[in-house]
């Protein structure tokens, strides 16, 4: 149910924002062509509690006006019962790169490793959805927040929910 609700929200976000933003981004491209963005965040998982850093590396697909990004991500989160290591690959649509408020949505796939007593205790594959927004501090630096839901599809089924605060840098 959570996955479906989030999916619908994601669709609505995409539908409402896309045409205007596409034109906007075409006319208001960033002055410098920064294809890469690195985001370092602090993430907390709500399902299976853990907290820790997560690094996202985004590569813009297409020209300067494109909102499409390839996302590589990895994190190390520590909880009372396990250490959680997510590694993932996904797609992120990041809108309005020249504005103060920069909404983003994305989805993709991750492999989650859960370590207990220093050993990989459990691993599975998930499909995730994410939504959030960045807030520009300078042309290159932004702060932001993202919420993520996921569903384990390889291995045992199970939901996931996490929130993350990040600082981003374009280069």
């Amino acid at each position: 149910m959570l996955t479906k609700v989030t999916t619908v929200l994601l669709v609505l976000l995409g539908l409402s924002g896309r045409p205007a933003l596409a034109e906007q981004s075409a006319t208001e491209a960033p002055p410098a062509d920064h294809r890469f963005t690195a985001q370092l965040g602090i993430e907390a998982t709500v399902v299976g509690f853990s907290v820790g850093p997560r690094l996202d590396l985004l590569y813009r697909l297409g020209g300067p006006g494109s909102f499409s990004n390839l996302r590589l991500t990895a994190g190390v989160l520590v909880g009372p019962e396990f250490v959680y290591l997510p590694v993932g690959l996904g797609y992120r649509a990041a809108f309005r790169p020249t504005k103060t408020v920069q909404p983003l949505v994305g989805l993709g796939t991750e492999v989650h490793l859960f370590m207990v007593a220093g050993h990989v205790f459990r691993q599975w594959g998930v499909v995730y959805l994410e939504a959030g927004s960045g807030f520009a501090v300078t042309q290159r630096v932004s702060l932001g927040a993202i919420a993520t839901v996921d569903w384990a599809t390889i291995g045992e089924p199970g939901p996931g929910l996490a929130a993350r605060l990040f600082v981003g840098y374009r280069f």
Binding site: G108, T109, E110, V111, G125, V126, I154, E156
Partner: protein
């Protein structure tokens, strides 16, 4: 999909935090499909692990994916999202066959009819690998429990007596 001893998710851990292993037939405790770790001094050492990279063959729900071993691990969940999840199951295991037979003998003695539907071939035990592993372990110990309760029962135990 049968019950695999390579995909278990249970370990043993000693009170001191060291983890240890008991494995295979003839050990102090019969093998029950779980994986174990062993202590070396005070530092735990992994001697048997269920860890292996996720592979395309893990996607057992979709035959087209099942026959694509070249699919990189990270792409497998993505491809799965493009397929319809039909679920997977396991077959009734030997421990639970033995348990069901033992309960039948108990019923014959007590003139009862115990509901063992969970453990029958079409029961809930075999809906997933995880539940199959839990059931096999519970059945193995269940036979021991039944024999403790009714010592006169002549029940053969499962594959790990």
């Amino acid at each position: 999909m049968g019950v695999s001893r390579q995909t278990s998710d249970r370990y043993r851990e000693s009170p001191s935090g060291a983890v240890r292993t008991i494995k295979g037939k003839g050990s102090a405790e019969p093998a029950d499909g779980w994986l174990y770790l062993t202590p070396v001094g005070t530092k735990p050492r992994l001697v048997a692990s269920n860890f292996r990279p996720l592979l395309a063959k893990d996607v057992s729900m979709n035959s087209s994916l099942r026959h694509a071993p070249w699919v990189p691990p990270l792409l497998t969940p993505l491809l799965l999202a493009l397929s319809v999840w039909t679920g997977c199951g396991a077959e009734q295991g030997p421990e639970c066959r033995a348990f069901v037979a033992c309960v039948a003998k108990l019923d014959a003695v007590k003139l009862t009819q115990t509901n063992v539907s969970r453990f029958l071939p079409e029961g809930a035990c075999w809906g997933s690998d995880k539940s199959a592993q839990v059931c096999e372990s519970s059945c193995r110990r269940g036979v021991i429990q039944l024999l403790a309760q009714e010592p006169l029962l002549a029940c053969p135990q499962g594959v790990t007596p």
